[in-house]
Point group: C2
Chain length 479, copies 2
């Protein structure tokens, strides 16, 4: 039976949590007094559906069921996880915990999305403080992997570990903070930047758009992949970190920032920011901006995944965990991919660009070779297969969000020559495309084709022999 | 004749400038007293060569010539641009300007890479203060587009505009800062984060690795594409910026940060950071980290380019500017691509992955259709060509950094059927691959194939007619 998450508060963050749990197969019950809550959550879930599944190269589980109601008591009774995302007011949060703990099962973890309060703050006066922790995510919750988990002296290690396991189960990367402090780690850094940015706008040094430009065309690109310290380690050049710090050290004493003051967020400044932000981004609705942001995040994350770096390494691990393991007979075409089409694969003709059909087939070939014991490990031994000829037949259009599968038949494997035929199918079994590939076995050090040693390609040969009984597809043409 | 840049100081930043100018076809003369300067600069240029050209879809100009010498006077005499990147000490910089202005031509702009000093600071006591400006880049200078340009009351508008033009010429995105302040814009924000991060490490709340993780798996991903204000605008949900600020406003008063204090960068803290950084990244040399960083940046930037967003829009503009315009007779196969292979196209077999051959051919098809008047504009009118069948022959391996060209022959165009044949060639004319594509003309609204109106495909028909006299390649097989 599906696990159950109760989400208290269905705003941008609560909706994001709801989407993440749902898409990982949990049933989700959101409680929010806002009469518009259902519509708003549906919109966040729609955003998540078009971006999260396609980020992965493996299919996600079947979606859970979503329920939205006004009262907390409706949602928490049978919950396995309770996520609180009510507005950032301590009293409001404490009242919510009181109501929750009257109804929920003992031992159920209540995690707060608070960006500022410590767990000790939150736990005060609670019926069972040991069950309340902080799990602070980043917006959009359904795409960004990081979640800071923080406990107080009241929380046992086993509670913190249980929290970690649940958050990992929904594809996140929990970072357990060593000591509770206001605003944890991330929001302390963000707050520092935010204050300084407000000064820059207030003093007329830069507009909101110029500040954004400075970040996204400059250091923001660095931070997306290495963060702060690793970036600076490199900036130190050959002399490394120590050199960098000693260079930068004196600057700490310079009057470079206005940080010693807190800017007064008066009506004038609010007005100026709002006006500048409108002229910067006002031509897009928030919904459009969300989609632009999500498409960009998918593109960045998929790029990092191809590099196996930063958040991309995390995505690779998720794929590895959920990759279908081949079991049993190999007498039929092998399932070599099962995935959802990401939004960044669409071209100006409004469908999946031709290139990505080959990306799917290329990965299917990799998977087939892995099944046959000739994957990346074999490359490390100095051997592999090079594609020399390919035929792609595009039979039907594919659009973003579609679930597709690939089945691979080995048409022959003789000497150094391997001949594969992939069929790409829609969820309901319709043929979308075929990919036919001739590959030659190669010595990666000599960079030339060679006949493989039979014992090294034994499994591959077994699959080929089993497939020799199958009918050759009529469309096969590279014979 | 190639323009000439003089680079004063050949460290990480000076080397990055040298690389950027060189790869944009400028002759570069670096002066640096360090006996190791030449080797260090060569290494930065090697990094740039493998990452920058492949970021673009169009070939860059022929590289300029690099000279390295010890004395400033050697380098500045004939310079069209002088970039100063000596260590961050005011006296050192002022002495450099004195020496430079004794030798250089009048009117030559001297731009300082300073991250902290204002132009007024720098200009004090200079022979010709009006020729000294700030052009502050971000590391790696050869990849990140942003450069802050700052002038004082001494600098004329025409000087600032001339600076902008030169920086645009080498592919950067200059941002002219409205008023000179210490540390301009970006480094004020960075300094704020840096101070807060030092506190977090000093207080034992987080290690360098945990802080980096928080950034690169959390908000760093957002900042790479939208920066600060646009991100927060979205976070406000449907109520937008004003709502967000009013929510966040009170937090400014919370004791969230240690910003009111400047951390004391004593030996203990330096030691702690160095040790943590070593355990985080010490398994890689700086050279390796640079390559990981650059591969990631290329992947992120190319992802954003496909989305036509943030730094990616900037790259698209650069491509548009340098795209070869088809002129004259069309009686031969048309040049449809001329580009350098980026580092993120290499797979575990150590060569360009099969998918990117198709990416090149797919873009070549797009270019061919643009030549024929049937590109994105035609799509906006509701028509286009869908690929239905493709044959790819892989004839030779390709590796990162190679310059390749594509030539496209139209084998036939009759009714709704268009038949193209691409040949991918190395710089010296060797055939690397061929791509044969059958396309059908389609109505994008009806999503079905239709015969085009002849007047709409007139130019395409002219090319097809001209190509009908050419010999059909022996390898063509989809006839």
């Amino acid at each position: 039976m599906a696990k159950k998450a109760a989400i208290i508060g269905g705003g941008v963050i609560g909706g994001g949590w709801a989407a993440r749990f749902l898409l990982h197969g949990w049933d989700v019950h959101v409680s929010d007094p806002d009469p518009e809550a259902k519509r708003k959550i549906d919109e966040v879930v729609a955003n998540a559906r078009r971006s999260l599944p396609g980020l992965l190269d493996e299919a996600m589980p079947e979606e859970g069921r979503l329920t939205v109601s006004k009262k907390i008591s409706d949602s928490v009774k049978e919950a396995d996880w309770i996520q609180e995302s009510v507005p950032e007011r301590l009293q409001l949060k404490r009242e919510a915990y009181k109501e929750i703990q009257q109804e929920c099962q003992h031992e159920t973890i209540i995690a707060s999305s608070t960006s500022g309060f410590t767990p000790s703050n939150l736990q005060e006066n609670a019926a069972r403080p040991s069950e309340i922790v902080v799990a602070h995510p980043y917006n959009p919750v359904y795409l960004l992997p990081l979640v800071e988990i923080v406990g107080s002296a009241n929380n046992s290690d086993s509670t913190m570990e249980a929290a970690r396991r649940t958050l990992e189960e929904i594809g996140m990367r929990p970072l357990r903070i060593r000591s509770e402090i206001d605003a944890h780690i991330g929001d302390r850094l963000l707050e520092a930047v935010w204050r300084e940015a407000l000064w820059l706008v207030r003093d007329g040094i830069a507009t909101t758009s110029e500040i954004d430009e400075t970040i996204r065309l400059g250091f923001g690109l660095r931070w997306a992949q290495m963060g702060l310290f690793e970036t600076y380690r490199i900036a130190g050049g050959e002399q490394g970190m120590k050199h960098f710090i000693s260079q930068f050290g004196p600057a700490l004493k310079f009057p470079w920032t206005r940080l010693t003051d807190v800017p007064n967020l008066d009506d004038d400044l609010v007005h100026r920011i709002t006006e500048q932000s409108d002229s910067q981004s006002g031509r897009y609705s928030i919904r459009e901006l969300e989609r632009i942001r999500d498409n960009n995040l998918v593109a960045i994350l998929r790029g990092l995944k191809a590099q196996n770096s930063a958040a991309g390494s995390h995505l690779r691990e998720l794929d590895r965990k959920s990759a279908e393991r081949l079991k049993g007979p190999v007498a039929k075409p092998l399932p070599t991919s099962n995935r959802t089409i990401p939004p960044d694969w669409t071209d100006y003709n409004g469908h999946v660009n031709e290139v990505y059909y080959l990306e799917i087939f290329s990965k299917a070939t990799d998977r087939f070779l892995e099944f046959g014991g000739c994957g990346p490990d074999y490359a490390r031994e100095g051997f592999g297969f090079f594609t020399v000829d390919t035929r792609l037949r595009y039979l039907n259009e594919i659009t973003e969000g579609e679930r597709v599968r690939t089945f691979t038949q080995c048409l022959s494997f003789k000497g150094k020559k391997l001949h594969l035929f992939h069929v790409l199918k829609s969820r309901d079994g319709q043929e979308l495309a075929t990919g036919e590939h001739l590959l030659l076995h190669a010595d990666l050090n000599l960079r030339k084709t060679v006949v493989p040693a039979p014992q090294r390609v034994k499994v591959l040969q077994e699959i080929a022999d089993a497939h020799s009984a199958l009918r050759t597809p009529a469309a096969a043409s590279l014979l």
